[in-house]
Every structure is written in C-alpha cells, then in structure tokens.
Symmetry: C2
Subunit: 146 residues, 2 copies
DNA sequence: AAAATAACGCAATTAGGTTGCGTTTAGTTC
DNA sequence: GAACTAAACGCAACCTAATTGCGTTATTTT
C-alpha cells in the first residue's frame, strides 16, 4: 500500500528528518516519489521539463539513497531506477518490499504486484544482505500489443 | 541444481538444437555458462583473455538469448548479466528460477540461494510476463569485510 | 564445391553515468 | 538579520558499457 501525496504530507519536514537539504528541487523530487512507483533519471528530467541539470538529479538521488529515503530497484534494462523506501520494511541498510514489482520492457514503467508476496529475509552466513526484490518483467497493458 | 560441464555435454549439439551457429567461440561460450552461475560481457572477455572482440561477445549473447539458451538477470549495478536457462522452468518466452540469486555489490559475483524459493507465476490480466526473478543484493563472503 | 547466410573484427558512435570546479543557495552562528 | 560555513547547483569535460556500419571471414545450405 503506497502513501499518496494527497495525504497532505510535509515533504520539507520529511527531508529535514532524514538530514537532506530542503531545496525547492529536492522537495519537489521527493513529492514525485510519492506519486510514482519508481523513477529513473530520465523520467525525473522529463517531469521537470529538462530544466534541472542531470548532474543535480543524479546527486540528489544518491543523497536520498544515502539518507534512507529511496532505494534502487534492480532491472534488466540497464537503467538506474529508484523507489521510495517503505517505512514498515526498509531500514537504512536493508531494503525490501513485501510484494513484487513488474517492470515493462518497453515503456519502463513499474507496477506493484500486491498478490505476489516476497519471501522473508533469512540470514545467509558470510553474506551481508542489503536488499531483496521480487522482479517480474515483460510488457504492460499499454505496451502489450506492439 | 545446476548442470555441470563435467557431465560431458555436447555443446555443439545444444547450439545446433537451438538454431545457433556452432563457431569455436560460441561453443566455448556456452560451455562457460555451464560453469558459472551468471556472466557479464566483461567477465566473458576476461575468460577469453581479451582475445575475442567485445562486439562479438555482445552479439553472441543476444543470439543465445533470442534462441532461448540464456536470459538476463536483473541487477542494480547497471551491467547486463546473463544466466543459463533452466530446462525445467524456462521457455523461450517465460524465464524463471525456482530459487533466488544473490548478487555482490562489490565483485558482482552471483550465487544461487536454493533455500530462497521464488513464488509461482500467476497471470496478471493485461500484462505479458516474460520473467520472474528473486534478487538479493549485498556483499558476498569475499567482499564482506572491505 | 558453389552460393547464400551468418559470424567476426575494427572503427566510430551513442547514451547512461561520473567528476572537477566555480557559483549560488541553504543552514548555522553570532 | 548579517556574516560565515557547508552543501547544492550548473556547466563542461570525461568515462565506460553498449550499439551500429561495413568489409572480411567462417558456417550453413543447396
Ligand atoms: Mn528501501
Ligand atoms: Mn531462461
Ligand atoms: Zn509498458
Ligand atoms: Zn563479492
């Protein structure tokens, strides 16, 4: 279940609580993550009509990640993709969602699959687990036919 | 359970059965996939001591993928990574493993996690599912302590 | 064996991501 | 609220994985 931004959230406060500078851009960027299941740099650029420098976007995303606001989502499409951390299941160093995600091979959109349940994290000796992701890929409704 | 190449497999025959040209390089490349859980282009290049042109490797991997011999493994490290298709669970258009895979964020090695079970594939209406992957990321035994 | 088809290697190109540095903005101290 | 410090920003240049074009070589088909 994703928190939507129409819950009247104070994004500046959330940034402050995570030790992230609350610039206009970063407040707006955090807002975007509450609207979209996941975002790539390209998608963020488009949302800002290419007015924000890509380097600024890259650095903001790294900063958000370091401060535990977002995490990477693995994919086969060779693009860095980020998703909002889930307060229930993500900690600063261990990220997971209890459900799977579907990534479209054509339009790159992501969809939550609430009825695909992720297994619980079990320690593996010697290994340090950072994240668990259940990833389905294919074609979404829009891209299904051609 | 992974088939090992010491089972005396005829790689040329496997290629032929999948409609892939059996060049010396491609026979050797297929052999590699029976040894290693997954491979990137860089890893393949190293295995061949950089004697094979990278374009040749890229095209061979695409060809193997199109013919249903290998499939991509999603990851967060922005590298195209391929793994041998599993005769039991992979078809030409639908790829999965019954177990999870661990990818090291440092050395990029992949490990099978036999006791992490993937959920079964359930159709989602409107969506065309190509693959299901359970991906764990973090640091492996070698890279755990910096 | 000859013809047709596909793989190969090289060079050039594309595209996602990164780095350095001077400037601007935000956070802090007085 | 002005002065100071630290971080974010934008630009240009750079890095590297991946792709494309094309002439050559190897494989497959007849
Ligand atoms: Mn997270
Ligand atoms: Mn497969
Ligand atoms: Zn789509
Ligand atoms: Zn490692």
């Amino acid at each position: 279940m994703k928190i939507k931004n129409d819950d009247n959230l104070d994004f500046a406060l959330i940034l402050a609580n995570h030790g992230v500078s609350k610039t206009k851009f970063r407040i707006h960027l955090l807002n975007l993550f509450y609207d979209k299941e996941s975002l790539t740099v390209k998608e963020v650029m488009n949302k800002f009509s290419n007015l924000i420098n890509k380097v600024t976007i890259y650095r903001a995303l790294v900063s958000f990640e370091e401060k535990g606001l977002i995490h990477k989502v693995p994919s086969s499409n060779n693009l860095i993709r980020y998703s909002l951390c889930n307060a229930d299941e993500c900690s600063a160093s261990l990220h997971k969602h209890n459900h799977g995600h579907f990534i479209c091979n054509n339009c790159n959109q992501t969809f939550c699959l609430e009825n695909y349940k992720s297994p619980d994290i079990m320690p593996i000796d010697g290994f340090f687990i950072n994240s668990l992701n259940l990833i389905l890929e294919g074609y979404c409704k829009d891209c299904h036919l051609h």
